[in-house]
Symmetry: C2
Subunit: 161 residues, 2 copies
């Protein structure tokens, strides 16, 4: 464990003591550390959101649209526009008008995109084992329902206004 100064605290919320605050707190730290680590390990200029989009294409096996991608990743349309523009400039995806709907666009992954995704996974994989070190699969499985519930609650609260 790193330096643990007496002043150490979490980068997220924690207005008081409540348990859920502590949980969100811990989650915030983990997300912070994980994202940074991912970006540092990524080859080239590939960022985490860019990788995630490329990965999605490979798993999906077919083209998609900016809006569907935005929904899939819970980001706004403008955020996805931004990410796709970067990917397109890097030649990792191509974007064409949708023949069916002149408002829409179709996004394809390119061969270079697939290669970049493979390289990223190759760089990531060895790190994942270190990160998983000393973590029991059954403990993770046991924690997932809690997290799913928390996510669902946040989701509902988001729609609430």
């Amino acid at each position: 464990m790193a330096g643990e100064g007496s002043e150490r605290e979490a980068p997220r919320g924690a207005a008081g003591d409540p348990l859920v605050f502590r949980l969100l707190n811990e989650i915030g730290i983990i997300d912070q550390l994980a994202s940074r680590l991912f970006e540092r390990v990524m080859p080239g200029d590939l960022t985490l959101p860019q990788f995630v989009v490329l990965n999605h294409f490979v798993r999906l096996g077919r083209p998609s649209s900016p809006l569907r991608l935005a929904r899939a990743f819970q980001v706004t349309k403008s955020t996805m526009t931004n990410t796709l523009q970067h990917l397109e400039r890097a030649g990792l995806v191509t974007i064409e008008p949708d023949p069916q709907d002149a408002r829409a666009k179709v996004v394809f992954i390119t061969d270079a995109g697939r290669a970049a995704r493979e390289a990223a996974i190759a760089a990531l994989t060895p790190r994942l084992s270190s990160i998983a070190d000393g973590i029991a699969a059954q403990d993770v499985e046991a924690a997932m329902p809690l997290l799913a519930r928390l996510r669902a609650n946040l989701d509902a609260e988001r729609d609430r206004g």
Copy 2:
């Protein structure tokens, strides 16, 4: 970035550890949703990092320095410089040179800062119960060691380069 929604596909179990990957994925989504919700609920122009810094001051009960704050929240110095500049412009903190060390600075929370923090907490509190709805305290307690371990692993991996 968050995880996929409806456009889901069977995660083909690439080499490595799909389990920890899924965990980090879920954590990413939760952090996303929680952060957005916080910012939407925050009164005025207060952002989450700004609130967290103010909150830290109240809990700490004494001034601090940009570097110590950066370490406490696991962000870089430049990130903290940025946040503190916003807080100072809003009159929520004051920043003075450190008499002991001419390189350093001392950051104080102001009365306006305390008031802003109180207002934020007042706005946040009612949301908390909704977010915690259906979540058992013992389940959270049970999950914390796992998360702590994950955090520690990420921390160690970060220092590894």
